[in-house]
Symmetry: D3
Subunit: 132 residues, 6 copies
């Protein structure tokens, strides 16, 4: 497979409902650098996704196992900045807010409009969040 074809599989699996998709570089026998594709999905999407992978990659087999998850409760808020509102995802554990993650697309569009760096936009959002 070409790198482009690998990139396409990422898009396809996400569209088909994968929760997460990533590549890890591995070294196989006989000097062969390869990539390992990891796809996380709900048990119900397993069949659909394994068929998609068997069809769209060069692999002849898939290995899978069940994992459990422990996730933060998520809550979407909006934070107002001088450049407009930015959606943020809060992560909550046992009622306590553990983290605040500004939405990338909102920050990116402000960065592109204002010419400020995206890091600066994140900092502005985080500061507004910390003030409250």
């Amino acid at each position: 497979m070409t790198p482009e074809q690998l990139g396409f599989v990422v898009e396809q699996t996400l569209q088909a409902g994968a929760l997460d998709v990533y590549f890890t570089n591995i070294m196989m026998k006989k000097n062969r650098p390869a990539v390992l594709l990891t796809v996380l999905c709900d048990r119900n999407d397993k069949k659909k996704l394994s068929q998609l992978i068997l069809k769209n990659t060069s692999t002849f087999g898939i290995r899978y196992t069940e994992m459990k998850r422990e996730i933060l409760e998520r809550k979407l808020i909006e934070i107002n900045t001088e450049f407009g509102a930015v959606k943020c995802k809060l992560g909550i554990l046992d009622g306590i807010t553990m983290k605040c993650s500004p939405e990338y697309e909102d920050c990116k569009s402000i960065a592109m409009t204002t010419g400020l760096s995206i890091i600066e936009i994140y900092n502005i959002v985080i500061s507004k969040y910390m003030e409250n």
Copy 2:
């Protein structure tokens, strides 16, 4: 920097004229996994790109050197398949065509229309190319 911010820098540098951009994973002192950003550009774009990187990443410094290039002569052709035309990039050395690379976006759009895998589309294009 977050992974999203790193992804944004790739877009920005390419838009600003970088010839190629890629990340390499490195391990720094004190258990610190980091990524090395490599940007290739014409000498004339050097100043613009280094300012862009210094502004948009968390780095405090950039290292650079001059490299020479040896490239294949490129020629764009179109190959007709039963699903439509596909642009291909030929790579030519000393007048001899060394390789034929089907354009990803063309193959992807046929794959999405037909439901065939993108690997199959590449194979169809390559077969047509080999026939001639």
Copy 3:
């Protein structure tokens, strides 16, 4: 362990019946770059392989788990080219041929005899396969 010794373990585990073997680079505590050895085998070979690994690597312990597999049905065919026959592995899902993988050793030996690149040989084989 030296890189050579790591390479030797790959040979040994494959000879002892491992289905697949690969290395992944990891970063351990205290600035220590290391490699993770992953060995896949049938349940019945587990004891033999874990002893082989404990003996031939620097590790003091092995972790293992059971995985399920979903594999394409495989069928070997021969494809005739102007340079001789090339064995190919077909991957079949629910009666439909999903992919055709030319045998590396056959392609390599044609590449070495003809002076053509191995990519070209693959393309020739794939073209012949697509014709039918």
Copy 4:
């Protein structure tokens, strides 16, 4: 998270009782280089460690599974060299000593005192061990 923050998580998880901790570089969707944190611990420490990770990293979720282990029996010995004693960890399988691993901190302190390279110190220790 910054590389420094990632380094700090390694320290914290080890202090909280993790058996092993390491990073693997992965590539996520949309050009995002990321690191995967793997933490191994006893089942009883699972809750404490997952809370620590959810609090101290940027993640919104953790995936986990149970693994079995096969480990060498360990025995600590001391090997006397001309530069002082060095602790060594022996790895034993079915009563047979499979390997001898000189303690890093002991070797390092001899290397720093003597000005010899740490590789040389390991060699000296291994030679003494092999003599017996």
Copy 5:
């Protein structure tokens, strides 16, 4: 070399004046996973550092080249938080402050005293910085 020995070389090169040191994972011939050590130093330290590396690693040779650098002007400031002062490194380009990087050790020690996560401490510092 063992991973521990590699970790030790990082310490040694930094102590000997290296400006930066990092590892990159590479794949050599014959299934050999290896690490590439990169050391950056002033031209005057070149001889000392190359001897140190030739002595303390398993390599039989070093390759080197000269690179130019473009760096931000740095300025150290102190930012006062409710948990004490935190040193920050400012990065300045053409008189404009491009970024503010809180000192890791200061943040870490506040994180350890307060029980807050180190990410939270960074956020607090950045917020105070943005206020001004």
Copy 6:
């Protein structure tokens, strides 16, 4: 290119006189995991090797630069063990022997004959070397 084709390029470049060849994993734009091929050669072999790479890989261009080298003086010796002689490469700096590297193929063949692990064979050889 398939992983097998990448492995073949390693063989070809070494046969054509490359001093060293290795792969580094990189992440290119648009979710594309790729491998960077690095080939080191004498200036005189540059043309031959760049043509070989342009022909046998999917690349459309090569970048190159000149590097200097600093290498240990090498001397081949033989070390006698109870299982036969093992060739060793000594690395010498300013007349001082810095390291002794047992030849992999010799150690491997003893490991295969005796059933001992290859690590043990290295240790036996190093011990004999240290005795003298």
